[in-house]
Amino acid sequence: MPEIITGTHGPEEGAGAGTPWPDDVPPNQDDTWYPLRDDPWRAARLEYFIAALWGVTGICGIGLMVVYWTGGQAQLEGWLLLAAFGCLGVGLLLWARQLLPGHEVTAIRHQHISEPEVRAAVVDSLSRGAEPMLSRRGFLVKKVLVPVGGIFGIAALWPLASMGPRPGNALYHTKWYPGARLVTEDGRALTVDDVMVDGLMTVWPEGYIDNPQSAAVLVNIGGQPLQARPGQAGFEVISGANGLVAFSKVCTHAGCAVSLFNVLSMQLICPCHQSTFNILQDCKPVFGPASRPLPQLPLGVAPGGYLIARSDFIEPIGPGFWNRSGD
């Protein structure tokens, strides 16, 4: 049983005899001393200095009003606020250190622990009514109230589910549909000759420009050999000197737009966490935290030379999730 320190709370147990106050001061401490108490001339000088400082604050305040009135300017406002608050602070600090008492005072530190009788009295109060409350081995409280409370608590949280729709299979589809033309952000449909070799453009399906899940990157790899993943062979379009491939722009790590393009190494890089994808190896990740390649869009050519998608991506785009079946 641990020993308990008796507390010194309560007026009758103050260290000084007869004093009614809890925090008491050893008798030889002077509670009114401050450094310049005995030097009134220096004290006066300091007070005037502090007054000057606070005067600067006032001037800065007027300056701020003028600046705001004439339209505002951030840097001027910054300087004025800095000066105003700074002078206020320096003045207050000098005032406290040199002109106000209360430094380096020693006092008794309270032990706020209650005495055993008081603690026991609390237990007594708490156990008042314990017998009827926990009758029949706590039947009402433990076996009824707690489970019912739990059920009702869950029911009370249920309306939070209205905050959003059930996902369904929303993550499995984008807005790409068979025959969708590849368009740029200003709505222009791209032909096989538009993107130069070693060039890239961000494209969307026609009619769904700026749709977040459907953004894709169209790259012209020229004549370089493409190593396709099983199931995604033939997704590219070769036309003359152009080798056109398109991949989802949504990073398979955490969803940022994969858009950096290193032409020398033929890599797409995501700026968020530096996942790096080899375009010529079907955008396989070769560095960084991404572990799945960027899904490839199956491309085709429509009459007039327009690039189209032959279908949606054949796998979910973007980051992984629990029910995402393996590729």
Partner: protein, 528 residues
């Protein structure tokens, strides 16, 4: 010397004050509390002010935040911008973004307030972190202050989330990318992740009603929690009194410092003024978060140099450093962001929350402490803390790999690899180095203020002094074997005024439960 006029003026003033206080006491009976409050002592060490820095920064955040909230529109509705900033003219954007642009350019004090608010948020978290480190390294979390530690760590977590939600409100490209990453982290939670993400965002990313919700969280829910917990934090501190470093005349039973009135109040107000000066000075003079450069968030856009604010940097760095492992089996997938994004912070915060109890076990010290440790007095704790700091610094640096690489012309592949290895080699090295430094510092000269209480000082034939009686007691010194110690300079038995009992000179009683007792505590118990 006061003149007759001054004395009578003082009398009149006292009479007026008495009348006013009588009015209050008549209604609230507050006199006893007021007196003890004004007499209350606060230790003066500068490092104790860092918690105050955090508190006052919070006050400035609330004040500037209220101003910003008067102009910000928490709406996902699309508007066409036709304001002052020409490069955005005619572009479609959410009202959230447009209102923030208008606040920055068309509201007179708007830019300074916005920038001051953001700088204050960064400094807020820096102050909380420094304060937490100070509490950790000095052992201020020990009994009876464990609950305050819990509250403090919760304040840290809430502050981080509050900051993140705050800088995401403008819906700019930088913060929008951050929200996309968080969506992916939530999505990666097993079983319920996708449903939870769709519930919070109201649909697939980026959702159509998200900013209203974020606004409620940032403006209402979290500030309430922060203010409430901060109030509790301060109330407990008030009740338990502040800890202090050991020193001449300081014991577990007394407290040395400034009186609340007028000394501490005025000094504290001065600190508030300085904090305001720094924050508003930065707010007007140093640009932060220029959202007009980033443009409104669109999912197909990204910028180089996409980092979160510094205090979330360790999580972003963890996402960059974590290897590309994903686990797939039986048609289910544990996606990569789950581990650095949720598991790591979960483990980290569990350890931090539990630290007071871990510390008790390590040192078998279940005692009551009002005096602090110097970090060197607890080499193991200090070394663990240093290792943790190195770990978090490594992760924070990792979030800046592309920026660092651009500046130093080092590839990010190399930087990331260095930081990956550094994330466990660094802390290990740091641990041992810190431990040795602590032991070395302890062995140098027994600090004059740490007199070996409870031991007997013997003088040997060669004239040197050494202590007999085992470990250095007092303030939790660890036992260490030093063959021939230098004598402590302070003569035994002397001390500053006000120290109570003479039983501090008794030899220490070794508690059968294992913990050494602290003298000056009347044989203080350890917890059974």
């Amino acid at each position: 010397m006061s003149t007759v006029a001054e004395r009578s003026a003082a009398r009149k003033r006292a009479q007026q004050q008495q009348k006013a206080l009588d009015w209050v006491d008549d209604r609230f009976g507050s006199s006893s509390w007021l007196r003890s409050a004004m007499d209350k002592i606060f230790p003066d060490h500068w490092s104790f002010m860092v918690g105050e820095i955090a508190m006052y920064t919070f006050v400035i955040l609330i004040a500037t935040g209220i101003y910003l909230a008067l102009f910000y529109k928490a709406s996902d509705a699309i508007v066409i911008y036709h304001g002052v900033y020409k490069p955005l003219d005619g572009q479609a954007m959410t009202e959230a973004y447009a209102s923030t642009i208008n606040l920055s350019f068309s509201v007179r004090a708007g830019l300074v307030m916005r920038q001051a608010h953001h700088w204050a948020a960064l400094i807020f978290l820096a102050a909380i972190t420094f304060h937490m480190c100070r509490v950790f390294f000095t052992g201020a979390f020990r009994r009876p202050r464990e609950v305050n530690w819990i509250i403090g760590v919760t304040l840290l977590t809430l502050a981080m989330l509050e900051g993140f939600s705050g800088y995401s409100l403008p819906d700019d490209l930088l913060s929008g990318s951050g929200l996309r990453v968080v969506f992916s982290i939530v999505q990666s939670i097993p079983f319920v992740g996708v449903w939870l993400a769709f519930t919070i965002w109201g649909g697939n990313f980026p959702g159509t009603e998200f900013f209203g919700r974020l606004f409620v969280i940032h403006e209402f829910l979290f500030p309430l929690l922060l203010a409430g917990l901060l109030g509790g934090h301060l109330a407990i501190l008030w009740r338990q009194t502040h800890t202090d470093f050991p020193g001449p005349g300081k014991t577990e039973r007394n407290i040395v410092g400034s009186r609340l009135w007028p000394q501490y109040t005025v000094k504290s107000t001065a600190l508030l003024m300085f904090i305001a000066a720094v924050i508003f000075g930065l707010g007007g003079l140093v640009q932060i978060n220029p959202i007009w450069i980033y443009g409104p968030y669109q999912a197909a856009r990204a910028s180089a140099g996409t980092q979160p604010d510094w205090y979330v940097g360790w999580l972003d760095g963890a996402l960059r450093l974590w290897p590309h492992w994903e686990f797939r089996s039986f048609g289910h997938e544990l996606a990569n962001p789950f581990f650095p994004g949720l598991l790591l912070p979960g483990i980290v915060f569990t350890v931090i929350y539990a630290w007071p109890w871990i510390d008790k076990r390590i040192y078998s010290d279940y005692g009551h402490h009002n005096l602090l440790d110097r970090p060197r007095d607890k080499p193991l704790r200090t070394a663990i803390g240093v290792a943790a700091l190195i770990f978090f610094t490594d992760l924070t640096l990792a979030s800046a790999t592309d920026v660092i690489g651009t500046g130093l012309h080092i590839s990010f592949e190399l930087l990331i690899e260095i930081l990956q290895y550094g994330s466990f080699i660094g802390p290990i090295i740091g641990f041992f180095v810190a431990y040795e430094v602590c032991v070395l510092l302890q062995q140098q000269v027994a600090h004059p203020i740490q007199r070996p209480v409870g031991g007997i000082i013997m003088r040997d034939a060669r004239g040197g002094f050494h202590t007999v009686g085992g470990a250095h007691e007092g303030n939790g010194h660890e036992a260490h074997d030093v063959e021939h110690e230098e004598a402590v300079l302070e003569p035994v038995g002397a001390g500053a005024s006000g120290r109570p009992s003479a039983d501090e000179d008794d030899p220490p009683a070794i508690n059968p439960d294992g913990g050494a007792t602290l003298p000056g505590d009347d044989g203080h118990p350890s917890e059974t």
